[in-house]
Protein backbone atom coordinates (compact mmCIF):
# COMPACT_ATOMS: atom_id res chain seq x y z
CA UNK A 1 0.00 0.00 0.00
CA UNK A 2 1.35 3.35 -0.95
CA UNK A 3 1.82 6.15 1.54
CA UNK A 4 -1.21 8.41 1.96
CA UNK A 5 0.94 11.54 2.37
CA UNK A 6 3.85 12.50 0.23
CA UNK A 7 7.23 13.09 1.95
CA UNK A 8 6.96 16.82 1.46
CA UNK A 9 4.05 16.89 3.92
CA UNK A 10 6.57 16.55 6.76
CA UNK A 11 8.10 19.90 5.94
CA UNK A 12 4.72 21.45 5.30
CA UNK A 13 3.36 20.40 8.67
CA UNK A 14 6.44 21.75 10.47
CA UNK A 15 6.14 25.04 8.68
CA UNK A 16 2.44 25.26 9.40
CA UNK A 17 3.02 24.76 13.16
CA UNK A 18 5.52 27.60 13.09
CA UNK A 19 3.16 29.62 10.90
CA UNK A 20 0.25 29.00 13.23
CA UNK A 21 2.15 30.36 16.23
CA UNK A 22 3.50 33.24 14.21
CA UNK A 23 0.16 34.20 12.74
CA UNK A 24 -1.57 33.85 16.10
CA UNK A 25 1.15 35.93 17.71
CA UNK A 26 0.78 38.54 15.03
CA UNK A 27 -2.98 38.67 15.53
CA UNK A 28 -2.59 39.11 19.29
CA UNK A 29 0.00 41.81 18.74
CA UNK A 30 -2.17 43.58 16.17
CA UNK A 31 -5.16 43.45 18.50
CA UNK A 32 -3.13 44.90 21.37
CA UNK A 33 -1.74 47.64 19.17
CA UNK A 34 -5.16 48.53 17.87
CA UNK A 35 -6.55 48.60 21.39
CA UNK A 36 -3.86 51.00 22.56
CA UNK A 37 -4.02 53.14 19.44
CA UNK A 38 -5.22 56.69 19.55
CA UNK A 39 -8.07 55.58 17.33
CA UNK A 40 -9.38 53.24 20.02
CA UNK A 41 -8.58 55.40 23.06
CA UNK A 42 -9.61 58.65 21.36
CA UNK A 43 -6.38 60.25 22.59
CA UNK A 44 -4.98 63.25 20.69
CA UNK A 45 -8.18 63.62 18.72
CA UNK A 46 -9.53 67.19 18.98
CA UNK A 47 -13.21 67.21 19.90
CA UNK A 48 -15.59 69.51 18.09
CA UNK A 49 -17.59 71.62 20.50
CA UNK A 50 -20.67 73.84 20.09
CA UNK A 51 -18.28 76.77 20.62
CA UNK A 52 -14.68 76.26 19.44
CA UNK A 53 -13.22 77.15 22.83
CA UNK A 54 -9.45 77.54 22.73
CA UNK A 55 -7.37 76.73 25.80
CA UNK A 56 -4.40 77.94 23.79
CA UNK A 57 -5.86 81.43 23.71
CA UNK A 58 -7.27 81.59 27.23
CA UNK A 59 -4.48 79.79 29.08
CA UNK A 60 -1.43 80.27 26.87
CA UNK A 61 -2.29 83.69 25.49
CA UNK A 62 -4.10 85.38 28.37
CA UNK A 63 -2.60 83.47 31.28
CA UNK A 64 -5.89 82.67 32.99
CA UNK A 65 -5.46 80.19 35.83
CA UNK A 66 -7.11 76.75 35.44
CA UNK A 67 -9.13 77.37 38.58
CA UNK A 68 -10.78 80.52 37.24
CA UNK A 69 -13.14 78.24 35.31
CA UNK A 70 -12.57 74.79 36.82
CA UNK A 71 -13.44 76.04 40.28
CA UNK A 72 -14.11 72.75 42.03
CA UNK A 73 -10.89 70.96 41.06
CA UNK A 74 -9.38 71.43 44.54
CA UNK A 75 -12.42 70.32 46.51
CA UNK A 76 -14.29 67.82 44.42
CA UNK A 77 -13.89 64.71 42.33
CA UNK A 78 -15.10 66.75 39.36
CA UNK A 79 -13.00 69.68 38.18
CA UNK A 80 -16.10 71.50 37.01
CA UNK A 81 -17.16 72.78 33.62
CA UNK A 82 -17.88 76.47 34.00
CA UNK A 83 -21.44 77.71 33.73
CA UNK A 84 -22.18 80.15 30.90
CA UNK A 85 -22.04 82.95 33.46
CA UNK A 86 -18.26 82.44 33.78
CA UNK A 87 -17.83 83.04 30.04
CA UNK A 88 -19.94 86.15 30.34
CA UNK A 89 -17.71 87.57 33.09
CA UNK A 90 -15.50 88.75 30.23
CA UNK A 91 -17.61 88.23 27.12
CA UNK A 92 -20.29 90.61 28.31
CA UNK A 93 -17.69 93.23 27.34
CA UNK A 94 -15.30 91.78 24.82
CA UNK A 95 -16.09 90.00 21.55
CA UNK A 96 -19.73 90.86 22.21
CA UNK A 97 -20.63 90.68 18.52
CA UNK A 98 -18.53 87.69 17.53
CA UNK A 99 -20.80 85.20 15.70
CA UNK A 100 -18.66 82.39 17.12
CA UNK A 101 -19.90 83.27 20.59
CA UNK A 102 -23.59 83.42 19.72
CA UNK A 103 -24.32 80.02 21.35
CA UNK A 104 -22.82 81.40 24.59
CA UNK A 105 -24.96 84.53 24.50
CA UNK A 106 -28.01 82.50 23.60
CA UNK A 107 -27.37 80.15 26.51
CA UNK A 108 -27.05 83.14 28.83
CA UNK A 109 -30.25 84.76 27.50
CA UNK A 110 -32.37 81.63 27.58
CA UNK A 111 -30.86 79.92 30.65
CA UNK A 112 -30.37 76.77 28.59
CA UNK A 113 -27.11 74.91 29.17
CA UNK A 114 -24.47 74.74 26.47
CA UNK A 115 -24.04 71.14 25.35
CA UNK A 116 -20.28 70.75 25.73
CA UNK A 117 -18.97 67.39 24.59
CA UNK A 118 -17.08 65.52 27.29
CA UNK A 119 -13.46 65.13 26.22
CA UNK A 120 -12.32 62.78 28.98
CA UNK A 121 -15.02 60.14 29.19
CA UNK A 122 -13.91 57.60 31.75
CA UNK A 123 -15.92 54.38 31.94
CA UNK A 124 -18.57 54.64 34.64
CA UNK A 125 -16.93 51.88 36.68
CA UNK A 126 -13.85 54.02 37.32
CA UNK A 127 -13.95 56.54 40.14
CA UNK A 128 -11.43 59.28 39.56
CA UNK A 129 -11.06 62.15 41.99
CA UNK A 130 -9.37 65.38 40.90
CA UNK A 131 -9.05 66.92 44.36
CA UNK A 132 -6.83 64.22 45.85
CA UNK A 133 -4.47 64.23 42.86
CA UNK A 134 -4.13 68.01 42.98
CA UNK A 135 -3.60 67.93 46.75
CA UNK A 136 -0.83 65.35 46.42
CA UNK A 137 1.14 67.30 43.85
CA UNK A 138 0.03 65.92 40.49
CA UNK A 139 0.05 68.79 38.04
CA UNK A 140 -2.74 69.47 35.56
CA UNK A 141 -0.41 69.10 32.58
CA UNK A 142 0.90 65.73 33.79
CA UNK A 143 -2.34 64.15 32.65
CA UNK A 144 -3.86 66.83 30.43
CA UNK A 145 -0.74 67.61 28.43
CA UNK A 146 0.22 71.02 27.10
CA UNK A 147 -3.27 72.44 27.44
CA UNK A 148 -1.87 75.93 26.76
CA UNK A 149 -1.08 74.78 23.24
CA UNK A 150 -4.42 73.18 22.41
CA UNK A 151 -6.56 75.32 20.07
CA UNK A 152 -9.29 72.71 20.44
CA UNK A 153 -9.16 70.46 23.46
CA UNK A 154 -8.17 66.85 23.13
CA UNK A 155 -7.52 64.02 25.52
CA UNK A 156 -3.75 63.73 25.85
CA UNK A 157 -3.39 60.39 27.62
CA UNK A 158 -4.83 57.02 26.68
CA UNK A 159 -6.77 56.85 29.98
CA UNK A 160 -6.17 53.11 29.89
CA UNK A 161 -5.62 51.31 33.15
CA UNK A 162 -1.97 50.67 32.37
CA UNK A 163 -1.50 54.43 32.09
CA UNK A 164 -3.07 55.02 35.52
CA UNK A 165 -0.94 52.26 37.02
CA UNK A 166 2.29 53.68 35.60
CA UNK A 167 1.90 56.58 37.99
CA UNK A 168 0.26 54.72 40.86
CA UNK A 169 3.24 52.35 40.91
CA UNK A 170 5.89 55.05 40.52
CA UNK A 171 4.43 58.32 41.81
CA UNK A 172 7.92 59.75 42.38
CA UNK A 173 8.40 60.06 38.63
CA UNK A 174 5.38 62.28 38.15
CA UNK A 175 4.82 64.24 41.36
CA UNK A 176 5.77 67.93 41.47
CA UNK A 177 5.86 70.55 44.24
CA UNK A 178 2.37 71.67 45.23
CA UNK A 179 3.20 75.25 44.26
CA UNK A 180 3.68 74.10 40.66
CA UNK A 181 0.53 72.00 40.29
CA UNK A 182 -1.37 74.61 38.28
CA UNK A 183 1.62 75.86 36.34
CA UNK A 184 1.41 75.10 32.63
CA UNK A 185 5.05 76.11 32.14
CA UNK A 186 6.47 73.59 34.63
CA UNK A 187 9.25 71.42 33.25
CA UNK A 188 10.50 68.58 35.45
CA UNK A 189 14.10 69.33 36.46
CA UNK A 190 16.77 66.73 35.52
CA UNK A 191 16.80 65.33 39.07
CA UNK A 192 13.00 65.15 39.27
CA UNK A 193 12.97 61.51 40.44
CA UNK A 194 15.16 62.41 43.40
CA UNK A 195 12.93 65.39 44.24
CA UNK A 196 9.92 63.16 43.61
CA UNK A 197 11.09 60.64 46.21
CA UNK A 198 11.28 63.40 48.80
CA UNK A 199 7.88 64.77 47.82
CA UNK A 200 6.34 61.30 48.06
CA UNK A 201 7.55 61.19 51.67
CA UNK A 202 6.62 64.78 52.44
CA UNK A 203 3.10 64.54 50.99
CA UNK A 204 2.54 61.02 52.39
CA UNK A 205 1.80 59.67 48.94
CA UNK A 206 0.83 56.01 49.02
CA UNK A 207 1.26 53.79 46.01
CA UNK A 208 -2.37 52.68 45.80
CA UNK A 209 -2.77 49.81 43.37
CA UNK A 210 -5.60 47.87 44.96
CA UNK A 211 -8.53 47.26 42.58
CA UNK A 212 -10.93 49.05 44.90
CA UNK A 213 -8.88 52.24 44.82
CA UNK A 214 -10.56 53.08 41.52
CA UNK A 215 -13.22 50.41 41.03
CA UNK A 216 -15.73 50.58 43.85
Amino acid sequence: MSQVFHRSTNTLSRVSIFGGIFILGFLVWAWAELNASNYATRAKVPVNQPVPFSHEHHVGGLGIDCRYCHTSVENSSFAGIPPTKTCMNCHSQIWVNAPMLEPVRQSFRTDQSLHWIRVHDLPDYVYFNHSIHVAKGIGCTTCHGAIDRMPLTWQEASLQMSWCLDCHRHPEEYVRPRSEVFSVAYQPPPNHVEIGRNLVKEYHIQSLTSCSTCHR
Binding site: L62, Y68, S76, F78, K85, T86, M88, C90, I94, D124
Partner: protein, 215 residues
Protein backbone atom coordinates in the same frame (compact mmCIF):
# COMPACT_ATOMS: atom_id res chain seq x y z
CA UNK B 1 -30.82 21.07 -18.33
CA UNK B 2 -29.71 20.28 -14.83
CA UNK B 3 -28.30 23.22 -12.87
CA UNK B 4 -24.63 22.87 -11.98
CA UNK B 5 -25.11 23.17 -8.28
CA UNK B 6 -28.38 21.53 -7.50
CA UNK B 7 -28.20 21.64 -3.66
CA UNK B 8 -27.64 25.43 -3.48
CA UNK B 9 -30.35 25.98 -6.02
CA UNK B 10 -32.87 23.94 -4.09
CA UNK B 11 -31.93 25.79 -0.86
CA UNK B 12 -32.54 29.04 -2.65
CA UNK B 13 -35.92 27.89 -3.74
CA UNK B 14 -36.90 26.69 -0.28
CA UNK B 15 -35.50 29.72 1.61
CA UNK B 16 -35.52 32.86 -0.51
CA UNK B 17 -33.36 35.72 0.88
CA UNK B 18 -31.33 33.18 2.86
CA UNK B 19 -28.10 35.04 2.30
CA UNK B 20 -29.52 38.32 3.62
CA UNK B 21 -30.94 36.58 6.66
CA UNK B 22 -27.65 34.95 7.49
CA UNK B 23 -25.75 38.21 7.18
CA UNK B 24 -28.26 40.02 9.40
CA UNK B 25 -28.01 37.25 12.00
CA UNK B 26 -24.22 37.47 11.90
CA UNK B 27 -24.34 41.24 12.24
CA UNK B 28 -26.69 41.04 15.21
CA UNK B 29 -24.49 38.44 16.85
CA UNK B 30 -21.48 40.72 16.43
CA UNK B 31 -23.40 43.72 17.70
CA UNK B 32 -24.60 41.94 20.81
CA UNK B 33 -21.14 40.65 21.57
CA UNK B 34 -18.88 43.55 20.76
CA UNK B 35 -20.80 46.77 20.89
CA UNK B 36 -22.51 46.78 24.25
CA UNK B 37 -21.18 49.46 26.55
CA UNK B 38 -23.53 48.99 29.48
CA UNK B 39 -20.69 48.97 31.98
CA UNK B 40 -18.99 51.97 30.45
CA UNK B 41 -22.17 53.99 30.20
CA UNK B 42 -24.28 53.08 33.17
CA UNK B 43 -27.73 54.60 33.53
CA UNK B 44 -26.71 56.87 36.40
CA UNK B 45 -25.98 60.54 36.83
CA UNK B 46 -22.41 61.71 37.11
CA UNK B 47 -21.68 65.44 37.41
CA UNK B 48 -23.17 67.43 34.52
CA UNK B 49 -24.39 64.37 32.64
CA UNK B 50 -27.56 65.21 30.74
CA UNK B 51 -30.98 63.93 31.67
CA UNK B 52 -33.97 62.96 29.55
CA UNK B 53 -36.23 63.18 32.55
CA UNK B 54 -36.10 66.90 33.23
CA UNK B 55 -37.36 69.39 30.68
CA UNK B 56 -34.18 71.50 30.74
CA UNK B 57 -31.98 68.42 30.32
CA UNK B 58 -29.97 69.02 33.49
CA UNK B 59 -29.41 66.20 35.94
CA UNK B 60 -27.97 68.65 38.45
CA UNK B 61 -31.09 70.38 39.71
CA UNK B 62 -31.18 74.02 40.69
CA UNK B 63 -31.99 74.49 44.37
CA UNK B 64 -35.69 75.36 44.79
CA UNK B 65 -36.28 78.86 45.99
CA UNK B 66 -36.57 79.26 49.74
CA UNK B 67 -34.70 76.07 50.60
CA UNK B 68 -31.44 75.88 52.53
CA UNK B 69 -28.99 73.07 51.89
CA UNK B 70 -27.57 71.37 54.95
CA UNK B 71 -24.67 73.38 56.32
CA UNK B 72 -25.43 76.37 54.11
CA UNK B 73 -27.56 78.45 56.43
CA UNK B 74 -26.28 81.99 56.08
CA UNK B 75 -27.22 83.29 59.48
CA UNK B 76 -24.03 85.29 60.10
CA UNK B 77 -25.02 88.45 58.25
CA UNK B 78 -21.69 90.23 58.65
CA UNK B 79 -19.73 87.27 57.35
CA UNK B 80 -21.99 86.67 54.34
CA UNK B 81 -22.83 90.25 53.33
CA UNK B 82 -19.96 92.37 54.64
CA UNK B 83 -22.52 94.67 56.20
CA UNK B 84 -23.71 95.39 59.69
CA UNK B 85 -27.10 97.03 59.34
CA UNK B 86 -26.68 99.21 56.27
CA UNK B 87 -23.03 99.96 56.93
CA UNK B 88 -20.06 98.10 55.48
CA UNK B 89 -17.96 96.57 58.23
CA UNK B 90 -14.38 97.72 58.51
CA UNK B 91 -12.97 94.48 59.88
CA UNK B 92 -12.60 90.98 58.56
CA UNK B 93 -14.98 88.87 60.69
CA UNK B 94 -12.23 86.39 61.59
CA UNK B 95 -8.58 86.72 62.63
CA UNK B 96 -6.34 87.58 59.69
CA UNK B 97 -3.25 85.41 59.92
CA UNK B 98 -0.38 85.05 57.52
CA UNK B 99 -2.11 81.95 56.10
CA UNK B 100 -5.25 83.96 55.40
CA UNK B 101 -3.21 86.57 53.54
CA UNK B 102 -1.39 83.92 51.53
CA UNK B 103 -4.68 82.30 50.65
CA UNK B 104 -5.95 85.75 49.68
CA UNK B 105 -2.94 86.33 47.46
CA UNK B 106 -3.43 82.99 45.73
CA UNK B 107 -7.16 83.54 45.17
CA UNK B 108 -6.58 87.14 44.06
CA UNK B 109 -4.07 85.96 41.49
CA UNK B 110 -6.53 83.40 40.15
CA UNK B 111 -9.77 85.35 40.02
CA UNK B 112 -8.90 89.05 40.08
CA UNK B 113 -5.62 89.54 38.21
CA UNK B 114 -7.13 88.95 34.75
CA UNK B 115 -8.61 92.46 35.03
CA UNK B 116 -7.11 94.13 38.12
CA UNK B 117 -3.53 93.03 37.45
CA UNK B 118 -1.11 91.55 39.98
CA UNK B 119 -0.64 94.96 41.60
CA UNK B 120 -4.29 95.92 41.61
CA UNK B 121 -3.68 98.84 39.28
CA UNK B 122 -6.43 97.77 36.89
CA UNK B 123 -4.14 96.85 34.02
CA UNK B 124 -4.76 93.14 33.77
CA UNK B 125 -4.56 91.16 30.55
CA UNK B 126 -8.32 91.22 29.88
CA UNK B 127 -8.30 95.01 30.23
CA UNK B 128 -5.49 95.17 27.70
CA UNK B 129 -7.74 93.15 25.39
CA UNK B 130 -10.58 95.65 25.62
CA UNK B 131 -12.42 95.14 28.89
CA UNK B 132 -13.44 98.32 30.70
CA UNK B 133 -10.56 99.32 32.93
CA UNK B 134 -11.42 98.96 36.61
CA UNK B 135 -10.23 101.70 38.96
CA UNK B 136 -6.82 101.22 40.56
CA UNK B 137 -6.94 100.23 44.22
CA UNK B 138 -4.29 102.83 44.90
CA UNK B 139 -6.47 105.90 45.07
CA UNK B 140 -7.53 107.77 48.19
CA UNK B 141 -11.14 106.92 47.47
CA UNK B 142 -10.56 103.15 47.55
CA UNK B 143 -7.98 103.30 50.34
CA UNK B 144 -10.65 104.81 52.55
CA UNK B 145 -13.37 102.32 51.72
CA UNK B 146 -14.16 99.87 54.54
CA UNK B 147 -13.11 96.30 53.83
CA UNK B 148 -16.73 95.13 53.70
CA UNK B 149 -17.10 97.23 50.54
CA UNK B 150 -14.66 95.00 48.66
CA UNK B 151 -16.37 91.89 49.99
CA UNK B 152 -19.71 93.24 48.81
CA UNK B 153 -18.45 93.94 45.29
CA UNK B 154 -17.04 90.42 44.97
CA UNK B 155 -20.37 89.06 46.18
CA UNK B 156 -22.72 91.20 44.08
CA UNK B 157 -20.60 92.63 41.27
CA UNK B 158 -20.20 96.29 40.41
CA UNK B 159 -20.55 98.08 37.09
CA UNK B 160 -18.99 95.98 34.35
CA UNK B 161 -17.69 93.48 36.91
CA UNK B 162 -19.88 90.43 37.34
CA UNK B 163 -20.27 88.91 40.77
CA UNK B 164 -17.87 86.18 41.86
CA UNK B 165 -20.11 84.53 44.42
CA UNK B 166 -20.22 81.30 42.43
CA UNK B 167 -16.48 81.12 41.86
CA UNK B 168 -15.07 82.32 45.19
CA UNK B 169 -16.31 81.02 48.54
CA UNK B 170 -17.23 83.62 51.21
CA UNK B 171 -14.18 82.96 53.37
CA UNK B 172 -11.92 83.31 50.33
CA UNK B 173 -13.63 86.60 49.43
CA UNK B 174 -12.65 87.94 52.84
CA UNK B 175 -9.11 86.65 52.33
CA UNK B 176 -8.96 88.46 48.98
CA UNK B 177 -10.32 91.63 50.56
CA UNK B 178 -7.56 91.41 53.18
CA UNK B 179 -4.99 90.91 50.44
CA UNK B 180 -6.30 93.97 48.59
CA UNK B 181 -5.39 95.89 51.75
CA UNK B 182 -1.91 94.36 51.56
CA UNK B 183 -1.58 95.57 47.99
CA UNK B 184 -2.76 99.03 48.99
CA UNK B 185 -0.20 99.23 51.78
CA UNK B 186 2.54 97.84 49.57
CA UNK B 187 2.10 100.54 46.95
CA UNK B 188 2.23 103.30 49.57
CA UNK B 189 5.04 101.86 51.65
CA UNK B 190 8.53 103.29 51.92
CA UNK B 191 11.68 101.41 52.81
CA UNK B 192 11.29 102.68 56.39
CA UNK B 193 8.10 100.62 56.78
CA UNK B 194 10.06 97.43 56.17
CA UNK B 195 11.30 95.84 59.40
CA UNK B 196 15.12 96.22 59.56
CA UNK B 197 15.75 92.47 59.71
CA UNK B 198 13.92 91.88 56.42
CA UNK B 199 15.32 94.98 54.72
CA UNK B 200 18.60 93.24 53.96
CA UNK B 201 16.70 90.42 52.24
CA UNK B 202 14.74 92.91 50.16
CA UNK B 203 17.92 94.70 49.11
CA UNK B 204 19.63 91.50 48.02
CA UNK B 205 16.52 90.44 46.14
CA UNK B 206 16.45 93.78 44.35
CA UNK B 207 20.11 93.61 43.39
CA UNK B 208 19.83 90.06 42.02
CA UNK B 209 16.78 91.10 40.07
CA UNK B 210 18.47 94.11 38.52
CA UNK B 211 21.45 91.90 37.68
CA UNK B 212 19.21 89.70 35.57
CA UNK B 213 19.25 90.46 31.87
CA UNK B 214 16.35 92.56 30.69
CA UNK B 215 13.73 90.57 28.82
Amino acid sequence: MKPRNSSTASLRVRYPKLRIRISIALLLACASLACRRDMQDQPKYIPLRGSDFFADGRSARPIPEGTVARGELRADKVFFTGKSGDQFVDQVPFPVTRQVLERGEERFNIYCTPCHGRLGNGLGMIVRRGFKRPPSYHTDRLRQKPIGYFYDIMTNGFGAMQDYSAQVAPRDRWAIAAYIRVLQYSQMASINDVPPDVRQELNSELSTRSAEPKR
